[in-house]
Each structure stands twice: as C-alpha cells, then as structure tokens.
Symmetry: C2
Subunit: 439 residues, 2 copies
C-alpha cells in the first residue's frame, strides 16, 4: 500500500548522531513508536519515537511547535499513555506524522535545538505495553510450524485439511500480555504423563517459547461490515516481536476440543517498539502459493497482496540460561528465519477476521503464530528444534536443553535489510522464566 | 460464601410498589446492577439498580445522601459508565451497598421522598454492556452438552478423556459482545459441504444460539498468584444471561486444531442486569459428582464448594420468528433447564483459570458454556434439539425450524425460586438475526 517516498531515502542522516550508525536498529528511516517513561519513575507512560539510541517525546515535541497540521494532531494524540488514539487515526495521519518526524530529525534542519530537549536516552527508559489491547488474536500462519507440530500431536494427520483454505486463528489472553523484560513463574497445571490413565498436577515440564510477530490494528471496522482485502493494510498500524510462551504438556492434555487455554494464557511478551507498515515498505515482496496448493478464495485474494503481500523480516531467537548469565556467556542463537515464509499475509488475516462481521478496534493485536521456516534450523519453537524433546540442544556452558528451565531468558530479535536501503530494526523482545509458585 | 441475612427476608416490601408484585424479576431481595441511560438520549451510561419496574440511579442516590461509609463509596463508584470500579471493590463493599440499598428502598424507611427523584422507569431506559470487559472466557461446563455435541462432531468419541478432569475453556471475542436487543447480520464464511472436497463461501446455513450464563469477575489476582478455590467466590461479582451465537457449519470446518474462531466471534449477547452472588445465596445447592466419575483434583476441590457450589438457576430459551412477530404470535419456548446440572462450579472455573498464574481483572467475563440439562428437551442449542438439523421443530405459525432464519429473535430468561423465598429474576437476553451483508 505504501509507496516509497523521501522518508525511505537511504542517504538521509539525522542530527541525532547515533541514528547514523550502520548497525543501529533505529535509523531515521525507521521511526517506530512505543510508550515509555524514565526508568524507575512514577511518571505516566507517554508515546515516543525511537531515533538512534534516543527516544523523542511526541507530546513534548508537539508542544515545542515541531509539527503542523495533521502531523501535530497525530503527535499530540500519540503523546498519551497508550497509542490507541494514534492507531485510530489511520494511514493519512500516520504518514503525515512520519514525514514530519523524518524532516524534524533530519541533519541540517533547524529543529535540533528545540527537539534536543525532548529526547531521553533509551538506556534511561522503561516501556509499557504500547496499546490498551481490546482483543488479542493468535494466528497459525506458518505451514512449516503447523506441519512440524501437527506431526507430534497427530502423527498420521499432521496438516489438517482446512489449513490451506482457512487462516486458522483463535482468541488469546489480553491480561497477561507484557512488554520486553517480563518475567513469570513456570505455570502449574494438569498434564497426562505418557501412558498414564489419569492426569497429574504440578509444574509444567515442557515449557516453550514461540517466535512470532505482533500486528497492531488501526482504525478497524464497525460490527457487521467486513474489511475487503484490498483495503486491509489501511487498518494495520505496525508490527512488533511477540513471544507466545507455551506449556506443551498442559496444551496436549487440554486442547481438545476448544483449543489452547491455560497452556498459553499465563504470559505473552511483546517488544516495546512498533515498526509501521510504511517503514517496512522497502521490504515487501511478492506473495504466492505453490502451484499445487489451493489458491486463496476470492475474499482472501487481491492483486495488491499478490504483488507485495509478503514481508522479508529477519527473525532470530536467542537463549541465555541463568548459569550462562552468571558465567558471562552470551546468549546462544537457536534460530534464524524470515516472516516471508508465512503461508498467509497480514491482509489475509484482516480480511478473514472480519469476513463474518467481527469488528476490529484500534489497538487490537494479532499474533502471526510461530514463524518456522522451511528447514528445521529455522524452527520458531523448542518443540520443533528438539523434535519434541528427543534431541537436546547443547548450550555454550555444556548444559543440555530440551525445553526451558527456570532462569532461562529468551530473546527475540528482528530486522529488515537489503542492499541500497537502510536497515530497519525491531529491538528486542526479552522474557525470563522464574521458579514455579505453589498454592 | 454469603450467609443468609436480613436482605434475603421474604417478608420485606419496598416503597416502590411494583417491586412487591409476586411475579416481578426485581423484588427488594434481588437488587441487580446494570448501566443505563434514558432511551434515545446521549447521556453517558451510568450505574443503576433494578427495583420492580424502576431503576435507581446509584450516583444520584449517593449524592442525595442515601448511603453512608463503605456503601456510599460503593454507590459512587457504581455510578460511572461501567461497573468495573464496583467490581474491583470486593465482597465487603458489595454487601455493604446491598444492605444499604435494601434498607433505603424498604417500605416504611424515611428515604422514599429523597430517592423517588432518582428513579427511571425501565420502560424508558436503554442499557449498555455493564463492564469494560478485559477478557472473555467461554467454558464448557455442561457434560450433557459436551456429550450431545461431541456425538455429532466425533460419533465414536463423544466425550473426550479430558472432560471430567479439566474445566475446558477457551478465550472468546470481547469487541462483539453486546447487550440485550443486539441485532447482527448472519455471518458469511467458509464451510465444507457434506461430501465436498473443497470449501465454499457464503452465508452461514447452520446458525444457532447457545444458552449460557455470564459470570463477572470481581477483584481478581496478580499475575503469577493463583486464586485458591476456597477464596474463589470472593472474586465473583455476579451472574447474567449470555447467548453465545454459533455458526455450526463454519465451526465444523475451522475448529481444528485451535478451537472455534469466526464461528463464535461475530456476536455474543448479554442480559443487562447482573445479579450478585449474595442475592443468589438462598438458591445454592450441594455439588457432587456421580460416584463413578473422577473426583476433582485438589486444586479444584473445596468443602465449601461441595456444600453449596451448585446454583439452581432456572433457564429458558424462547424463539420468535419475524412472521410470528408480524402475526402477533408469542415466542415459543424451546427449552427449560437449570444451571444446577453444570459439571463444574463457578469456583472451579475461577480456580482453574488462575492455577497457571493467569491474572483475572475486574470486569472480566466468563461464559458457562451451553447449559443443556440431562434430557434432550433441556438442551441449550438447536444443534441438540434438532439432532443436528435432522428433526425440525414446528413453530406456532406452522413453519419449521432446524437452525435460525433471518428475522428470528431468541430470548433467554432466567430466575431462581423456591418455597419461602422471594423469586429472583434475571430479566431477558434478547437478540435478532438480520440478513447477511455481502462484501
């Protein structure tokens, strides 16, 4: 949907010097949004934009007179405790604010003196969940993940017949969504040990992460009025990283017939920064299906989506155990994949979600589902990487991992890059497993 | 948890004369909460209590000096646009407000002149969804429903092995929850016609209702801190009626492996009035399992729950087609059952939901799941009553019904009664199916 414009120009430099470093996640071409406050303070959260290693306070910048017209309105509403009001404004306002920010932070513009006072170093900030999330929907867009997992739950029937027709999704839990840095006790629950006739109760033994992206909804629709696929991206504010923590043993026992519940709803972790679709425009790619696969039904098919529906977003999972932290060992990279392997596009998710009249609201969140690539080393969860716990991973300190242990920290990373374009980073999504708490 | 006290006394009469009628849903012993405004006005919604055919404005009554201490605080916070703040206060405040309301509305008390000005006839009111619902969880607490439905989806394996161990639940959609009077277009979607190899797209052909109760959460818990079952009812504000509209053909095609999604999330309808657990105290009953069934695991078992965990709440479903409305024919009663047949208690739902550390918040909503009783005429959905559409129901105008037709209105009713106690009613939960809208 978004055309390339001056904000994508790789030659642009910022007067915030750290934004010009080649390896920064947050160059002038990115401009992602978060809510933040000074670390350890009791200030209200407020909306900000990342630039290099700094955060620009949007309301303060607007008050300082840095923006005009629609951009000024957008900056004002983005200065609140959540980004819902900005998300509700829609693409024209988002683009106006992006252009105004790009110009105001650009080297040589006469804004440096005014705006320098509106910056806080990211090292001094703490973040909040960026929106008041009305509903969270988790999809299942990786056919490789669905096949890998399906093989373990249903060896005879790994990929169900609906998979290639329906963008499978289900509703997830909002209350337990946290932001990078989240720590949670290992969940307790019922599981059916192999061969047992009765369940047992205790701490989860097969705790896993899931590498996903989060997608924040913009204006949304009135109940009963589906969003046509060709208009879907006008309802997507942006993208972040998402860890859908999963208790595999609880899931296996509880998930039939109504789907995952306690196996998923104890914690979900988001990266703080939402990268807009406009910033991601240079990394869109054609979307197509293998010729032998069913083609999407008309309500899931649009020429614009075929032309640019995919997104080459590089994704990694890193794992650091408590022992590794204590020994000063760096996290181990477990996976490197890309969102371009997804079987369903973001527009298809929006069109499908609303086709029955279901209404989406500003700040609603989609999870992509675990993003496993076509080969096993691109798998987005331990259940796949360790083949259901049968092939442990050797960690840098010599310890073995099948599933997560208490004290483990999982770090998701994401970025887009291609020649001739500035690299766009997503920052980190970090979460830690604590010891279980008993009743 | 709640002891019988003076507010339950069957002899109490109100100065609001309509509250003394024997068949009223809202005698002085009930005192349920809703948010409302004058019909057709643009006034903000505000909290009120039903008394006979009137509504008492809680904030106005507090302003008029009708309450003191904790009750005054509770009435004030209940006067806002949602009841979340009242739900957050917990049982001591709820009881204090109930007692103060019971006294202030009682015949002979010196409050009639002051409070008469705070009344609005229910016939002049419109209602809102009573809370800002953070998360909605739908359970599956009727073993009869689970067996009836399971037989149709999985003839060889109707009741899955986890059913008698796990209070099965899943997360539902918040955005499309509406209040009695809700009307929605028949959902469009993918279905797999019998014998077909490929799905087709079109209006749902097997649209159904589900008779449920809704349960509103009170204070709730901090993430990571489960609510012990013996304390569960302190976290339950009250109960309403809930219609979980269901598109059976869409459900059958989409529900594996992650559960219902578009088949359920287009609309959910609540009755406006929330009846508190304290009002329901006289109708609690012992809860027990058939001796051959597994007994609840310790985290789902409490002596208080065995003593009084069940609730004898009478429930009915009525159906009126557009043609019946035009001919002036009364709705046809399809079902009469009771919530006492539920396989899992409200306390068990709370304890299970939080056992993994999942946090509940004030205003969160549980659905009980379809409440079918032990015999088929007590079934809470058309899919059961018509045996999957094979045995149509004859309507009073001679038309046949398998599933819902456009223009059909479904009305849920609920009440508690037993000798020596005033009847407590729930009012109505009414919703209407409109013609489908195409893209």
């Amino acid at each position: 949907m978004y055309e390339l414009n001056e904000t994508h120009d790789a030659g642009l430099r910022s007067w915030v010097e750290s934004a010009n470093a080649p390896d920064t996640d947050f160059p002038l071409q990115n401009l992602p949004f978060a809510v933040y406050r000074r670390q350890g303070s009791h200030e209200p959260l407020r909306g900000g934009v990342a630039i290099g290693d700094q955060i620009l306070d949007l309301n303060a910048a607007a008050t300082a007179g840095a923006f005009e017209g629609e951009a000024a309105v957008a900056a004002r509403v983005a200065g609140g405790e959540t980004l819902n009001a900005l998300m509700a404004l829609g693409p024209r306002a988002w683009s106006a604010l992006r252009l105004a920010l790009s110009r105001a932070l650009r080297e040589g513009f006469d804004t440096q003196k005014t705006l320098s006072a509106c910056l806080l170093p990211q090292a001094q900030a703490e973040y909040g969940v960026p929106a008041s999330i009305g509903d969270y929907t988790d999809f299942y867009t990786s056919v490789h993940h669905a096949t890998n997992i399906g093989r373990q739950f249903r060896p005879d029937n790994p990929l169900l017949p609906n998979y290639k027709w329906v963008p499978i999704g289900y509703h997830g839990r909002v209350s337990s969504i946290g932001v990078s840095g989240q720590a949670f006790p290992r969940p307790m629950g019922q599981t059916l040990p192999p061969g047992a006739l009765q369940p047992e109760f205790g701490p989860c033994k097969r705790l896993d992460y899931e590498l996903e992206i989060g997608i924040f909804v913009g204006p949304g629709n009135v109940a009963g009025e589906p969003i046509p696929i060709a208009e879907a991206e006008a309802h997507v504010f942006g993208v972040c990283l998402l860890n859908d923590w999963s208790a595999r043993d609880i899931q296996a026992w509880e998930y039939q017939p109504l789907g995952p519940f306690l196996s998923k709803n104890f914690a979900t972790t988001l990266s703080p920064w939402i990268v807009t679709l406009e910033a991601l425009a240079p990394f869109r790619m054609p979307f197509s299906r293998p010729a032998d696969d069913p083609q999407p039904l008309p309500y899931l098919d649009a020429s614009s989506d075929r032309a640019r529906g995919a997104l080459d977003l590089q994704l990694e999972v890193h794992l650091q155990s408590q022992n590794m932290r204590e020994q000063g060992l760096a996290p181990k990279r477990l996976t490197h994949t890309s969102y371009r392997h997804a079987y369903w596009t973001i527009s298809q998710l929006v069109a499908h979600h609303t086709i029955n009249g279901c209404n989406l609201k500003p700040g609603d969140l989609f999870g992509s589902g675990t993003l496993s690539g076509p080969t096993l080393d691109q798998a987005g969860a331990l259940i796949e990487l360790t083949k259901g716990g049968k092939e442990p991973i050797v960690m840098p300190d010599g310890q073995m991992r099948t599933y997560l242990e208490d004290g483990d920290t999982v770090i998701l990373k994401g970025w887009c890059e291609r020649p001739g374009v500035r690299r766009i980073g997503f920052g980190e999504c970090r979460g830690t497993v604590l010891q279980p708490k008993t009743l």
